[in-house]
């Protein structure tokens, strides 16, 4: 393996509580040759990015960590649904932009509702794009400039085993606050 220069694919983290939309966005992203990790909630996204365990104030990684060391996970872009139970896409965006380590990762918001104030507040919070759902190929084509712009940064050779894409979560997050227990999740 050593000595071979391999072209690293861009890695996109997709966040959406809808299984249909996750399947769609994943397919769309893959046609653009992006590597995709899809999660079904903002909480899982934060977990994946390593923002849940600590407040991201310390720069040294503790030798014993209950969650994945976020230095090993490289995400080049995050695309998230706006309306999700628990942490919304907007909350997720804010947390990412507040993180010293992750604030430079481009974030894109998707929403089925065309609400100008919502779009403005997302863009003001630092989202690169706001896509109306259903998302199309022409939308996904807009991602490349944002990825290319940031691509100079951290493209050292990675050991293959450091990148462990999370399995796609097929079942909805069980901590939906909106529903009573007797409803199907």
């Amino acid at each position: 393996m050593s000595g071979i220069v391999t072209e690293t694919q861009f890695h996109v983290l997709a966040v959406d509580d809808s299984i249909i939309d996750r399947k769609l966005i994943e397919r769309l992203l893959k046609t653009s040759s992006y590597q995709v990790t899809a999660v079904d909630s903002g909480v899982k996204a934060l977990e994946y990015l390593g923002l849940l365990d600590d407040e991201d104030t310390s720069t040294d990684s503790t030798p014993v960590s209950t969650t994945k060391n976020h230095h090993e996970v490289e995400v080049n872009l995050i695309i998230t649904d706006y309306c999700m139970p628990g942490i919304t896409g907007y909350d997720l965006l804010r947390k990412i932009k507040e993180s010293t380590l992750l604030k430079d990762i481009p974030v894109v918001i998707m929403s089925s509702e065309n609400v100008p104030s919502r779009i403005n507040s997302c863009l003001e919070q630092g989202a690169e794009e706001f896509f109306l759902k259903p998302v199309r190929q022409s939308d996904v084509n807009k991602l490349r400039p944002h990825l290319m712009r940031k691509s100079g940064k951290r493209k050292e050779d990675h050991q293959p085993n450091k990148r462990k894409p999370m399995e796609e979560c097929m079942s909805p997050d069980r901590t939906r606050a909106r529903y009573n227990d007797d409803l199907e999740l």
């Binding site: 249909i20 769609l24 089925s112 759902k133």
Partner: protein, 157 residues
């Protein structure tokens, strides 16, 4: 030739689905995502949609049965159902969902009940139509495969 008839049938069914307003442009987007590596993407998405969306229907039914009436919750569930339906290009169904949400917003119980029947019906009708369409599509594909095999056999002998 049977193959041409099958293909013609598939094309007619497809055209009817669009002309009669069952499907919109989003369905075309799904078709564009099919390729040699993902030849059944549309059917996969539709199947996934029907297995997933059943719970929205059930949850609305459960919520409609409760007292006092929770319009906000109904609107919330319908919002998600509409989103999924929109993602597969279900045009008529999307319209019915929007109508239901309108009744939720003004707190019209009768309107909700009535529209929900329409939603359920459209959901079921579209399922049948798409199932039939995919079946014919499959037959066309099978026929083409057999035809090609036979053709190759004659060429090589």
């Amino acid at each position: 030739m049977e193959g041409h008839q099958l293909q013609h049938q598939a094309a007619c069914m497809r055209k009817a689905l669009f002309d009669q307003g069952y499907l919109d442009d989003q369905f075309l987007q799904l078709e564009d995502l099919e390729d040699e590596a993902n030849p059944n993407f549309v059917e996969e998405v539709v199947k996934l949609y029907y297995s997933d969306s059943a719970r929205f229907i059930r949850n609305i039914e459960l919520t409609l049965d409760k007292n006092p009436f929770d319009f906000e919750k109904l609107d919330d569930i319908m919002h998600q159902f509409k989103g999924s339906s929109s993602s597969i290009g279900a045009k008529k169904l999307k319209t019915e969902c929007t109508q239901f949400q309108e009744y939720c917003k003004i707190g019209n119980f009768e309107g909700c009940m009535r529209t929900f029947q329409e939603v359920k019906q459209e959901h079921a009708v579209l399922k049948k139509k798409l199932e039939s369409y995919f079946q014919v599509f499959l037959l066309v594909h099978v026929y083409n495969c057999v035809y090609v095999c036979v053709d190759v056999h004659f060429v090589t002998n």
